[in-house]
């Protein structure tokens, strides 16, 4: 059994690297279930995406025709066999373009007030450098949110993903106080965006949202199942966000693929607030060799987004 699993993993790694090389921009990590379902009744958007067919070939399909398969609630509690997902965020490249936030909100049919991905302007202390800090859910290996849930509505899967089953969630919000990273969001009312999604609910899609329940970044397992990387990772114009598999030891942002362990080793990757003992599955690369000045992050933002950062020590110091 174990041998078989190892063999599968080896195979999949080889396959993955091969496909990763072929696939190139914008496509597909991973292996296993690679299938895109095409919905011929949907409207075309004109935007083409590359997908891998089950036969391993690359195909261009209109994004509007692409329909992600949704697994059942039971299935979504289990996790994708033989996988262990990880994310690496390169703080040196982030300029707060917020494309990750927008793509995530669109993909999960979220209202503007709910952000699974948040971008903070952090400065560890007065003399240290400020930097932009995109923060998804850390999918901790020791998740307090999962421990405190009274009904098992949030759970840790075999592939490392911490997911929420909104049909189980009673909305007690204990997980929100349990999470030390302010990751979780609550549906304070029924948002009209929830009605956009006509597909049946699946925890893997975190959509359609449900009033009075908690949701959060889900690492997009529905995209992973069709061999794609999460919305945030593929949307980032700077390639800040890498997604991959610890066991395959590979992460990619869609254009570049790295050996995970080597990347963390070479670039001194770290996990945020390691001292809390939550063992996150999201790693950060320190904000060194910056590609952009921090101020570039204020560039094209809406006023209300700019306002978010007005009370940060950095903004206060730079006030005219």
């Amino acid at each position: 059994m174990e041998e078989e699993l190892n063999k599968n993993q080896k195979n999949s790694r080889r396959q993955f690297i091969k496909k990763g090389l072929i696939a190139g921009a914008g496509v597909a990590v991973g292996s296993g279930l690679i299938a895109a379902y095409v919905d011929s009744t949907a409207a075309e958007t004109g935007e083409k995406v590359k997908v891998l067919t089950t036969g391993g070939e690359i195909m261009e399909v209109d994004r509007g025709l692409l329909k992600l398969p949704r697994v059942s609630r039971e299935e979504s509690h289990k996790g994708i066999p033989g996988r262990k997902f990880v994310m690496v965020i390169d703080l040196g490249k982030c300029k707060n373009a917020r494309k990750c936030v927008q793509a995530c909100q669109k993909g999960h049919h979220l209202p503007k007030s709910q952000e699974f991905m948040k971008v903070y302007l952090l400065q560890d202390s007065e003399k240290t450098a400020p930097y932009w800090f995109p923060k998804p859910c850390f999918h901790c290996d020791n998740p307090l949110c999962v421990s405190v849930c009274p009904v098992g509505a949030t759970f840790k899967r075999s592939d490392g993903i911490v997911l929420i089953d909104n049909e189980r969630c009673i909305g007690c919000k204990f997980c929100m106080t349990g999470c030390p990273y302010s990751t979780r969001v609550f549906a304070w009312k029924h948002y009209p965006e929830f009605d956009v999604d006509k597909e049946p609910y699946s925890p893997e899609a975190s959509s359609p949202g449900k009033e009075g329940t908690v949701s959060k970044c889900d690492f997009c397992p529905d995209l992973i199942r069709v061999g794609k990387i999460p919305y945030c990772a593929s949307a980032c114009p700077m390639g800040v966000i890498y997604f991959g598999d610890v066991d395959e030891d590979t992460v990619t942002n869609g254009t570049e693929t790295f050996q995970f362990s080597q990347l963390i080793h070479d670039r001194a990757g770290y996990r945020y607030l390691e001292t809390l003992g939550t063992r996150p599955c999201v790693y950060y690369l320190p904000p060194v060799d910056r590609q952009f000045e921090v101020d570039r992050g204020f560039g094209d933002l809406d006023e209300n987004i700019k306002e978010r950062y007005k009370d940060t020590p950095y903004s206060k110091k730079n006030k005219p």
Partner: protein, 437 residues
């Protein structure tokens, strides 16, 4: 036997038989407050939790504060009456029933506030069907339901003798259905030596049990906060701290109830200054303990000054300055001065102090819950004011008022159903000077 002694019920019967116009006006007023609360609740159900001041950072607000507060108040009976019973304190008799009523009524209201906080009340039964024992909320569900059950039994046992007295009191001018209820509830108790012995033993056991259960309930409540990693909550002292704060608030509410019933039902002969001073001294001791725990908790946070603890303390001394001063300075020092210094030790002063203590302890829970949620590890970066700062909306205040109104209403009705001062074995207070009085 004891029931054939001169029947003191004669004096208390009018309370049960008649309700004055003021009494009806009072009940009507309470019903109106409750009516507004029902409307507020419907708003919350229809429009979602957006009608509250809670948002993604401060996910628990005034509702949880009220939950902790009422659970704390319920301690009055559990610990105070339980302990007084076990120590066979002679002066406890006229006030013990009030304490037990406080317990059970507060215990029924408290959990309702946690329900107001729950996003999906339609799925509440999942707590039982899918309950996970690893979650402190499950501990809480088990502990609170056990507590309600235990306190009901304890209350019932202590009512039994009086129910029998009411059943046997022929001059009672009450409709027949009410007499039938007394008869049914009295369970055929006639006061034979065997019955008395059994009843005494059962009450002793329940008194001890209720104390133990109450300590567990309140510790579990504290652990809901302290098991998380949040700055200010993640503290080992929280269990005992919450227990002490709870009994402290319970003792203050007991004094308020004593004052109200003494005035309304003219119980001056039974509830004397001695009772106020005695419960006042209990309150004083608890105030000292409460102050000590508070000081320990904040001293260690401030002295070691971990970054997030420091931010929290800054917040407490700036934005929450007055609630902090009232709850942790005034709320501690006032009982020490008023009850501690003989000159100030009057019924009015002790009662006024109790009002301050009740407010202080409500604020104490507020500054435990809200500031921590407003200062998470990752700074809140938001442009929406309601996301940055919590402030309760009219819906939350209205439902808070409803909680208090339901408490008063149930207490009023209870005092109409059974005499608020137990008649069995009651003696009028002798005019004997106490050292403290």
């Amino acid at each position: 036997m004891e029931l054939q002694q001169k029947n003191p019920l004669k004096e208390f019967a009018p309370q049960l038989e008649r309700t004055s116009i003021q009494g009806y006006a009072w009940i009507l007023f309470l019903l109106m407050v409750i009516g507004v609360g029902v409307y507020a609740f419907l708003q919350q159900v229809i429009h979602g939790h957006e009608v509250t001041g809670m948002r993604d950072n401060v996910v628990w607000g005034v509702y949880i504060v009220n939950f902790i507060f009422f659970m704390g108040v319920s301690y009055a009976g559990a610990l105070i009456s339980g302990t007084l019973h076990l120590f066979k304190t002679a002066w406890r008799k006229p006030i013990i029933r009030m304490a037990e009523f406080i317990t059970i009524i507060a215990l029924l209201i408290g959990p309702c506030f946690i329900l107001l906080c729950i996003g999906r009340l339609d799925k509440l039964h999942y707590l039982v069907i899918f309950g996970r024992i690893q979650s402190p909320i499950t501990w809480d569900v088990i502990a609170i339901s056990t507590d309600i059950f235990g306190c009901f039994i304890f209350l019932y046992l202590s009512l039994l003798r009086d129910l029998a007295t009411l059943r046997d009191y022929e001059l009672l001018q009450l409709p027949n259905w009410r007499k039938k209820i007394y008869k049914a509830l009295a369970l055929g108790y006639t006061g034979t030596p065997e019955q008395q012995e059994r009843l005494n033993r059962a009450t002793d056991i329940m008194a001890a049990m209720v104390i133990a259960i109450a300590i567990i309930v309140y510790s579990v409540l504290a652990w809901i906060f302290s098991v998380t990693l949040q700055p200010g909550w993640h503290s080992t002292i929280f269990g005992p701290y919450f227990v002490i704060a709870a009994v402290y608030s319970g003792s203050a509410v007991l004094i308020l109830c004593m004052w109200v019933f003494r005035k309304v039902y003219h119980l001056e002969e039974y509830i004397t200054k001695k009772h106020f001073v005695s419960v006042g001294v209990i309150m004083l001791v608890l105030a000292a303990f409460f102050g000590y725990f508070t000081f320990s908790d904040y001293l260690t946070k401030w002295y070691g000054s971990e970054k997030n603890d420091e931010l929290l303390i800054q917040l407490l001394f700036k934005k929450f300055y007055w609630p902090f001063i009232i709850s942790n300075y005034v709320g501690v020092l006032l009982p020490l001065l008023v009850v501690g210094i003989a000159k100030f030790r009057t019924i009015t002063n002790i009662t006024l102090t109790s009002i301050v203590v009740v407010i202080a302890l409500w604020l104490n829970r507020y500054i435990i819950v809200v500031p921590t949620l407003e200062s998470p590890y990752l700074p809140i970066q938001d442009s929406r004011p309601e996301w940055l700062n919590y402030s309760a909306t009219w819906v939350e205040w209205s439902l808070t008022a409803t909680g208090v109104a339901v408490f008063c209403l149930l207490f009023t009705l209870a005092s109409k159903f059974i005499n608020i001062v137990p008649v069995t074995g009651l003696q009028k207070e002798e005019k004997k000077e106490d050292i403290l009085v």
